[in-house]
Point group: C2
Chain length 509, copies 2
């Protein structure tokens, strides 16, 4: 169970703290300090620690109860330490230390003892063998980068710490933002299901993040997983997940990495589909889908492609239309009106190609046209720079239109060298970029179809509980006759084919 | 026909030259100067041009014959200009100007006249409506970036100038290198087939680049295309291509962009397969495949995955094995020997996970093991940084091992933020990076299977030309009897089913 001390601690002790920021016990101190944790931080280590803003404690016994203990000491010392902390009243633990169930027999035992101890006390254990947690209140990880907390950013739950880091590194470069990050490590007590349960139960329509990205090697508790993901999605969340180890060899690799048991890929896909989770199979795909989630929602299948670069438009058209979306042709009269506002030679029959000479003003005309045209559900704007001129004004206009329009606009800004500065400026306005148009096209179609074709919530028929009970009570020796059976099914709201009860063969005729 | 003056000009005139580098006629001058073109550069414009290193010419008539004219003036003035230049003896032209066949009726006529004119003179015309050419001798483009010329780098041929620019921008960031770049624009006279013909006919085993990347919206001359791509591949080249516009809507978009006629995707796929071209459908995929090409060749299907980050290894295993490659388990004795050299808790049963605490020394041991182990055909090394320590020594070792090993080693360096500097250093040693393991896995498998399963060259039977001719000469009124027909087929080396000549129905029995 995830307790509030883990999420909103008032005090944190780092056991195995260090001045050396190349060690987990040093780096986490640095992250806590840089992250401006408002409570008290204690650095526990027999060796002196002189981190500014941190209270040094030489022996564990000198410590008073803290809400959260972050543990960065060898596995062999963890049990004794946690026992002492539990006695003091500390109930939330993040254990960085490796050497538990991932490391063989002795480690499995250690991990079990650790978990039992925390369970008995009604506490929460994150890890062991994890990189920690990033939340609004504190940055309890020993890794970088630590993304700036954005309440509308993605929540990331990962059973692999390094994978979480690699996802964040790539994602931050294209503007994806993050809120809470949970590295669950060996998930001895708290797995992805428990985190999802916490998010679901504590969901606040106004304050809670609305996007969850998951990296999993196993779904240990499929019913719990389904329950909370379905519930979160019904509350307005959007979830995408990688469940790796889907191939035979990959399953073996996952088993060796996190002890995951193999589950057939089609079972996982069905589970995801039932909940409405977008299935992903790479970090890049997860990031693209997360970036789609962070844009306005696509509510129809008709996409207008707006560009000054024809090749990108052709590739994007292929990607969209061969994955279930539509690039509709425009009414010729409507198109002619738009065409008259653009440079000669422009093409408006969707894709809209306003040529290399197209300006911010032209782009504005086109976006306004698409916003007002009911055939269009969303726009993709592909705009780079051949290096001749500055695209700052174009990107500024794009940003403004993205705010002003009710329809989603997805930006493909491919000039990662020529427009590096302008893209950074654009991203700084809380925007994402899809550098490759085909990756966007696939992600967009994937999100749309995953949502559109997800299984509807099963609605159970209304049941007349009183009648059901009273009918069952009439049963002699547990049996009901055919007629009463029909009454029972009817009382339970279960539709029945027309039936005729006969007691003799002759009644057939 | 591509003439040598286009590829190796001794003098270049820019018609419509400018001091203003935000204009094509200014930017191309800057690129020519920065690219250290060794011949003479003339800047032609009634308005004065004072670019350092350039000879200013105020009127076209004052110009003496140059090998190559780069034309950056309005379409309407191009015909007259080219006519004058042809009279002077200039035979190679790169026409940047838009407003030709892509711009309607009048443009189509203009383009035809222009092409006829150059054809009559036996000249070469690149474009119109292109961004130019980058070659060893000169950088005749009005765009940036201009990649440093690398004779072992990729040749890029693109029917879309902006797409060529966007490909280069993304590719350079992951270390892909380039040699010649051809933007063929409207391909009025010189299309991709003519460029391929030039590369094929002038192929020099020792000097010519061995990788070609193509962006096409149409294969106008499939037989010529097949002939030269097949020939280049037989000479040791590796070719990957995007043929966009494969969907119905995409075909419409391509038609509007470059006037391409739609071809069914399965026809293109068969054509590529016959030649041994790797089919790609996005810039990112083309870049990943190009990066595989620029690494040592994969000669078998067994891949060892070496990492300190388990999650990446699991995803990569999935990607490789579900796309036709193999991640073989190791012999347990062999594995035990390797394991003894690594930190406790490491896993060696492929993927080889040498943990977050793994060092450069460990990596060296593992690579040496794989290099010497016949079950392994290639290695992928996934190594990032959680931000705790510097990975410079690891990347330096990796670079050295990549040179020393006979087996290919593909690097996945995912820490684009934490190890930004170290990755740049690594790339500066003429290395590529595959930031996403799954993209590498798919590209690697795709290259391997495209090569493995390509159609064998059709070998024609030996033909006895003398007999064939003499048999045909015996023909009366153009007819041969059945017996002679058999002799003719035999002489032509064509296998026949056993035959019996009968002249009466009774002979059937």
């Amino acid at each position: 169970m995830v307790i509030s001390q883990l999420i909103q601690p008032k005090s944190i002790a780092v056991i195995g703290a260090s001045d050396n920021t190349t060690k987990p016990g040093g780096m986490v101190l640095q992250n806590l300090i840089n992250g401006k944790f408002e409570g008290k931080i204690f650095a526990v280590n027999p060796k002196p620690v002189s981190f500014e803003g941190v209270t040094y404690v030489s022996e564990l016994n000198h410590l008073k109860a803290v809400d959260l203990a972050i543990i960065a000491i060898p596995a062999s010392q963890c049990l004794e330490t946690v026992r002492t902390l539990l006695k003091m009243g500390t109930k939330a633990f993040i254990v960085f230390s490796a050497g538990f169930s991932e490391a063989g027999e002795r480690g499995i035992e250690l991990e079990k003892e650790l978990t039992d101890m925390v369970n008995k006390a009604g506490g929460t254990l994150i890890g062991p063998n994890c990189v920690g947690i990033i939340s609004e209140k504190y940055k309890g990880v020993f890794t970088t980068p630590v993304p700036e907390y954005d309440p509308q950013g993605c929540e990331l739950i990962s059973s692999s710490g390094a994978t979480a880091v690699f996802i964040m590194e790539s994602a931050l470069l294209t503007g994806l933002r993050f809120s809470n990050v949970y590295s669950i490590g060996n998930a001895a007590q708290t797995g992805v299901e428990e985190i999802l349960e916490y998010l679901d139960v504590n969901f606040d329509e106004h304050k809670s993040p609305k996007v969850q990205l998951l990296y999993l090697e196993q779904v240990k508790k499929p019913f719990k997983f389904l329950k909370h993901t379905t519930s979160l999605i019904q509350k307005g969340c959007r979830i995408a997940a990688i469940k790796s180890g889907y191939s035979e060899a990959g399953g073996r690799a996952a088993s060796s990495h996190t002890g995951a048991l193999a589950t057939a890929d089609n079972v996982i896909r069905a589970l995801f589909r039932k909940a409405g989770i977008v299935y992903c199979s790479s970090r890049d795909e997860l990031i693209a889908v997360g970036s789609v989630f962070q844009s306005k929602e696509l509510k129809g299948e008709n996409i207008a492609i707006i560009t000054h670069a024809g090749g990108s438009a052709v590739m994007l058209t292929d990607a969209l239309t061969s994955n279930g979306l539509n690039v509709p042709q425009f009414d010729s009269d409507k198109a002619a009106t738009l065409l008259s506002k653009l440079n000669p030679g422009s093409s408006v029959n969707n894709p809209i190609d306003f040529l290399a000479t197209g300006t911010a003003k032209h782009l504005g005309e086109i976006i306004d046209f698409c916003e007002g045209y009911d055939v269009v559900d969303a726009m993709v704007v592909v705009f780079g720079s051949p290096g001749l001129f500055n695209v700052k004004d174009v990107y500024e206009l794009l940003d403004k239109k993205m705010s002003a329009c009710t329809k989603p606009i997805y930006p493909v800004l491919p000039s990662l060298i020529n427009a590096e500065k302008e893209i950074k400026q654009f991203l700084s306005k809380r925007r994402v970029n899809f550098p490759d148009e085909v990756n966007l096209g696939k992600a967009l179609a994937h999100v749309y179809t995953s949502t559109k074709y997800r299984f509807e919530k099963t609605t159970l028929p209304e049941m007349d509980i009183v009648s059901v009970r009273s009918i069952i009570n009439t049963a002699q020796n547990g049996y009901l006759d055919a007629q009463t059976n029909q009454e029972l099914l009817a009382a339970a709201g279960i539709a029945q084919a027309e039936q005729l009860i006969i007691s003799d063969k002759s009644q057939f005729e």
